[in-house]
Symmetry: C2
Subunit: 114 residues, 2 copies
């Protein structure tokens, strides 16, 4: 699997992003498996473009996944419904989160122009 | 100044986001002052909605700032041009970055609905 700890190589805009910001509890049970499975599923979805994920020392996470279309995001959501669908897991792993769906309108790189 | 290490309390969509993903060098000289000044300037711009910023142990950063309009983003860019405008600083602090401007189309929270 391609690393999530690098800057995603995305195409020329427009494309889409899912920005998932979460405050994690101190419960790790089952979390890594779920998170890895979510990412692995994303890589199997056509039109998945890449992902960037950063975790701070105080357990705030920002994960941004990139997609060519909103349809691709919907396919990922359908594929992964069983993985994160359990209310119990959510309440155990997160004290809060927000998921935002966005259309990337333009982008500028230091090295690569987009 | 409001913390950047929490989930931003944003209004109902649509609104805008600037997703800034960067790979930092190991040069810290002047960086914290610049970064704090960029955030302080954002808080002075009307229609600034909040910011989320996470830094990993290996110096990958994701900072997402939220704005009511694209005009607000432009005002922040104008205000902050002198702060980050120096090519020398950029090359010293970053080995790579991508800045993406996005329109948030919808959002879902664990606790708050948007």
């Amino acid at each position: 699997m391609t690393s999530t700890a690098t800057i995603a190589k995305t195409p020329v805009a427009p494309y889409y992003a899912v920005i998932f910001t979460s405050q994690r509890t101190d419960v790790d049970q089952g979390y890594d498996q779920m998170a890895q499975r979510m990412i692995a599923l994303a890589f199997q979805v056509p039109e998945f473009l890449g992902v960037e994920s950063v975790r701070s020392a105080d357990r705030l996470w920002i994960t941004v996944s990139y997609w060519q279309s909103e349809d691709a995001i919907r396919r990922w959501k359908t594929h992964s419904a069983h993985t994160i669908g359990q209310e119990a897991g959510r309440n155990m792993w997160y004290s809060d989160y927000v998921l935002r769906v966005a259309k990337i309108e333009r982008a500028y790189g230091m090295i690569t122009d987009y």
